[in-house]
C-alpha cells in the first residue's frame, strides 16, 4: 500500500507543477484566445486533482463549468471586444 500512496501523491505533485506552468503561460500570453486555452488546461489539471482528492461531486460540476461554460463566456467577450493585449 505504500507504493500506491506515493503514486497518488506523485500525481498530485505533478498536477500542481503543471498547473503552475499553465497559469504562468496564461498570464504572460498576449493573444487572449491562447490565454483562455491555457486556463482551460489548468482547469483540466485541477479536475484530475479533485479526482485524486476523492471528491466525485466536484469533478462532475467542475468539468462542465470550467472546461465548457467559462471558456465559452470568455470567448464571447473576446469576439465582441479586443483579442490582442497591448504592451
Amino acid at each position: 500500500m505504500a507504493a500506491a500512496e506515493t503514486l497518488v501523491y506523485t500525481l498530485l505533485a505533478f498536477c500542481g507543477l503543471a498547473s503552475t506552468i499553465a497559469v504562468y503561460l496564461a498570464l504572460t500570453e498576449k493573444d487572449l484566445v491562447k490565454a483562455i486555452i491555457y486556463s482551460a488546461v489548468q482547469s483540466g489539471l485541477y479536475a484530475i486533482a479533485y479526482f485524486l482528492l476523492m471528491a466525485p461531486d466536484i469533478v462532475l460540476v467542475y468539468l462542465p463549468v470550467a472546461l465548457g461554460l467559462v471558456p465559452a463566456v470568455l470567448l464571447s467577450l473576446i469576439s465582441r471586444t479586443e483579442r490582442w493585449e497591448k504592451e
Binding site: M1, A2, A4, E5, T6, V8, Y9, T10, L12, A13, C15, G16, L17, S19, T20, V23, Y24, A26, L27, L32, A35, I36, S39, Q42, S43, Y46, A49, Y50, L53, M54, A55, P56, D57, I58, V61, Y62, V65, A66, L69, V70, V73, L74, S76, L77, I78, R80, T81, E82, E85, K86
Partner: protein, 137 residues
C-alpha cells in the same frame, strides 16, 4: 505525523504550487492592464482556493486502505456506517466548494456583461486608457 519523508515532500510540492498559483493570479488581477486578462486571472484564483479547501478535507491513508469518497456504497447497517465514518474524507468542504463554484460562475458572467458595456462606452478595454479618458471626460 508519521509520514515518510518522500510522501510529505510530495504533498508539500502540491501545496507550494497552489500558493505560487495564488501569488501569480493575484499579480494578474492587480497589475495586468487588460480587462479580460483580469477576469481570467480572477477565475483561476478562485479555482485555486477551491482546490486548497478540498485538500484541507483530505484524510491520511491508514495501514489498510485509502480514504474513500463520502458516498456510502453498501447497505446502511451499523458496522457499514462505522466503517464508512472511519475511512471517508470530510464532506463539508466539498459542499461549500460546490456553492463557491456556482457563485464564481455567476460573477464571471456578470463581469463579462459589464466588460461589453465598458467596451461599448470607451472603445477600449485597456484599463489605463479607460482611467485616463474617464479622468479627462
Amino acid at each position: 505525523m508519521s509520514y515518510e519523508p518522500l510522501n510529505a515532500y510530495l504533498l508539500q510540492v502540491f501545496l507550494v504550487s497552489l500558493f505560487v498559483n495564488v501569488a501569480l493570479t493575484l499579480y494578474g488581477v492587480f497589475f495586468k492592464p487588460h480587462y479580460t486578462k483580469k477576469v481570467i486571472s480572477l477565475t483561476m484564483l478562485s479555482d485555486t482556493l477551491n482546490v486548497f479547501a478540498v485538500f484541507i478535507g483530505y484524510r491520511k491513508w491508514t495501514s489498510s486502505a485509502h480514504p474513500r469518497p463520502p458516498i456510502l456504497t453498501e447497505e446502511p447497517s451499523g458496522e457499514a456506517v462505522s466503517r464508512f465514518v472511519a475511512t471517508a474524507v470530510d464532506p463539508l468542504p466539498q459542499a461549500l466548494v460546490l456553492t463557491a463554484i456556482v457563485i464564481g460562475l455567476a460573477v464571471t458572467l456578470f463581469l463579462t456583461l459589464l466588460g461589453r458595456e465598458l467596451y461599448r462606452h470607451y472603445g477600449t478595454l485597456d484599463m489605463r486608457e479607460v482611467g485616463r479618458s474617464a479622468k479627462h471626460a
